[in-house]
Amino acid sequence: MQDLLAVEELRVAYGSAEAPLEAVRGVTLALAAGECVGVVGESASGKTQLCLATMGLLGRGARVSGRVRFAGEDLVGMPLRRLNQLRGARLAMVFQDPQTALTPHLRIGTQMAEVLVVHRGAGWSAARAAALAMLGRVGIEDPGWCLERYPHELSGGMRQRVLIGACLLSEPQLLVADEPTTALDVTVQAQVLELLARMRRESGMAILLVSHDLAVVAGLADRIAVMYAGRIVELAATARLLSGPRHPYSAALLQCVPDIRGPIPVRLPTLPGQPPAIGERAGGCPFAPRCERREARCLVETPPLTADDEGGAHACHRPLPARAGRP
């Protein structure tokens, strides 16, 4: 079966050609139709750049190489006209901060309806009627009222519902969600994730779900990709990754998730150090300076992403042992 989205050796670089600052350094990732893949990593690990590249939204300063195939068509270098036929229609994106992602001077109804007007050639009144129905579907209590509001009159959670609703109007095959819950209260976070899960069940769309929070991704994703310093360091089915991470970084991330059920530790486990700055990524494994399992060659030789025998892949010279007797 053909993948819906196939990212191949994607590289995104900024700055001069002599001293490029690479935000994404060779990412390969595929999504099947209807699949949800989570991407997890610290700030500046290249997650957002990956999302923007998938939508053809990178700024003029970005140099992109590699391929981003959507339903067989390469989005990298695609003419704007064709790109505009795809995005908003067959692939859509939800952004991190709903406070700023809506145009402040346009009513909610306009901002939702315009998607159908531009992609389906719908009339404004028909499009607004569809927007009204969608507001109900995404759990807005009074859709008629909401339709006439300006963004600043809504709460953060409502705005994110509106943004998700605007994305779903055109029934996309792929939803790119870049930290969709990060800017929201914890209770609202749960609601928005529940909404994404429900919409996925109802529409069968694929989701590329990006978060720095493993817990956010774990509930929704079929597979999880862990990113570090612009690379995928581990990619595995969600249950496998959670129960038996192979890459030391994945394991460290998992340890940092506090468990509210057990006794409260004196110190919350943290991962000491910080990722290398974007300009300082020399040879070797980028995680090596913080890694407890590093050996001499980790500092020299960059480990490639190698498939393991469980359908996942990891980029490590000394991976943690596979756990026996996993589900």
Binding site: L83, G88, T103, L106, E114, V118, A166
Partner: protein, 310 residues
Amino acid sequence: MSTLRFLIARLSSAVPTLLCIVTITFFLIRFAPGGPFDQEQALPADVAANLNAAYGLDRPIVDQYLRYLHGLLHGDFGPSFRYRDFTVTELIDQGLPVSFTLGGIALLIAVIAGVGVGTLAAVGRGGMADRTVLGLAVLGVAVPSFVLLPALGLLFGVELHWLPVAGWNPGRVDDMVLPVVTLALPPLAYIARLQRGSMSEALQSPYVRTAFAKGLPLRTVVLRHALRPALIPVVSYLAPAGAMVMTGSLVVETIAGLPGIGRYLVQGALNRDYTLVLGMVIVYSTLLIALGLVADLLIAALDPRVSLEA
């Protein structure tokens, strides 16, 4: 009716503002050495005394000030000291329509063309159009009107015979072209730069990225999502732009020989024509206050988050 209440509050706050301006101007011009009747040869003492008495200049200055205010309340700007047989009201009545037409058209052109050109530059940032606009904008701000107008007159009047170099015939459009262009260019250049900056910023904003993510064509993104926020700095600049046009009109009207009010401010001050200076200051301050008010109303109309508060 918050808009109405806002208008009433702002208009009533304009009265003390104007009063302050009138008061300061009244006493400042009186402190300037010399007087309206000074000439190269001193007037005979009895003539001077008669003139002073006729115009009330022999009264205590506070008394003169109160009498002037009293006249203002009745719409009387007083007699001109230098243009004998004319009251200041008559001079303004004759000149204001000319200046107002020129300045209004110039301001309108400056805003529309400046916004258009600035938007094009921002959309094609770094490209040919952008660099052309930036270059012309520097030129437009840097070249003074007393250079530009004669240069334009030389080209389009003397060489090409397309337009008159100077002069004014009521209702003739071609008389207005060169003065209007000269007046419009400096604020146009400034507005183009402002708009280029604010539009570039708007195009970087998260909501514009959302609009692009929706697959909207560039034109829709620019016009529907980016333009209104980008206009706010330009609108805020309306009153200073108005002042720029007014000061420009001092020079332009003199060079082109136009019967506007621009020349009265400078001439009135040089001649110590006290009432004329005051009248001009009142006209100009009123215009600037009105432009500021229009700007505030427009900003509230552009951004639903702004509520009108006086």
